[in-house]
Assembly symmetry: C2
Homo-oligomer: 208 residues x 2
């Protein structure tokens, strides 16, 4: 937390220079760069293993784009969905719950300024309150239940109060195998779980 708080007010370009991270210049082609920069700066384990970013602490790191007023501008990706194995998952052991057990949120200024000029904000270490976890669990059960009973085509991003399901792919034509309501094999676009921006916003600014 000491090291995370030291980022407050710093611009991404300055941090990148200090740690030797090659920050891209085109925002479209550098979507994940600031997230990776902060992983590097805080010593998170690089790579995409099935573990928290700080394995010994059990802490997940996430940047969150905010505007000048502190409003969260984007949803937050949580994890991808294995559509073939969903019927064997339970909330208590789900990847969503594990990912969100303990998150270090780092706000990043998000606007049409160059990446390097974007300022980092005050980090916040968060664990779901009982009420927040209840909301997440209810959304998860609803979404997963719909998929297992009616197939992925029953589910759009309109569903879910805090947690939603949206495409997660390099292109809209990417395909993975899924099963329809009758067990048919379908090729569908890969999906992921996301947190709605309005949910993330509440947990960022709630006074404890």
């Amino acid at each position: 937390m000491v090291r995370a708080r030291a980022l407050d007010g710093l611009r991404a370009g300055e941090l990148a220079r200090r740690v030797g991270f090659p920050l891209g210049s085109d925002p479209v082609r550098s979507k994940g760069h600031i997230g990776e920069l902060i992983e590097l700066a805080l010593g998170a384990t690089a790579g995409n293993l099935d573990q928290p970013d700080f394995p010994t602490l059990g802490v997940e790191l996430k940047t969150v784009p905010v505007d000048e007023a502190g409003r969260v501008r984007e949803s937050t990706f949580v994890c991808s969905i294995d559509l073939g194995a969903l019927d064997r998952e339970e909330w208590d052991t789900s990847r969503v719950r594990r990912k969100l057990r303990c998150v270090l949120w780092v706000p990043v200024e998000s606007s049409r300024v160059p990446l390097a000029d974007r300022r980092l904000g005050t980090p916040r270490l968060w664990r779901p309150t009982a009420a927040q976890e209840a909301t997440l669990r209810a959304d998860w059960h609803d979404l997963v239940g719909r998929i297992t009973s009616g197939g992925i085509d029953e589910v759009s991003a309109h569903l879910g109060e805090a947690l939603q399901i949206r495409p997660k792919a390099a292109s809209g034509s990417d395909r993975v195998e899924a099963h329809g309501p009758e067990g048919e094999v379908l090729d569908v676009v890969p999906r992921g779980f996301y947190l709605r921006a309005r949910f993330t916003e509440t947990l960022l600014w709630t006074v404890e």
Copy 2:
């Protein structure tokens, strides 16, 4: 076949020059290069999809290293093994059988001469005879049966008349999950199916 026969007598370096393939100079670091060169030269679909190299023909392409006398010098890799899913496979639908349904063998001179100097030989299009398939099927059942009943540690490369199982990994310390005889989870080196050199040799030179 016309295009494959046109390779006969050509040296790998000459073919590489014609098609613009960057053939390596160190044999240790270029093990798969001649195979990839011939894929390119014959228009095989690049990449490692779960399909034959020539999908519309249903033909698999394999180079086979032979010495001056036409003796096959090495075993031939067939496919990797998913140790977690073996108990749900049957011979008729197995990856081994699919891979070996129809193979275009291209002999390549194998000796301590530079890669670029190695000559390509007369290609042969092969489908297993009833007797060959019976041998492969028997080996497969024996090997797979031992794994599903006693675990992968029961199986060494000594087993199998035509088909054998050997490590298939970048390093001996690579690990994948497998299950022991009592269902325990074990981390073991990844395995693949291979054809013994003596088997490949018979099918290359048998007069029809």
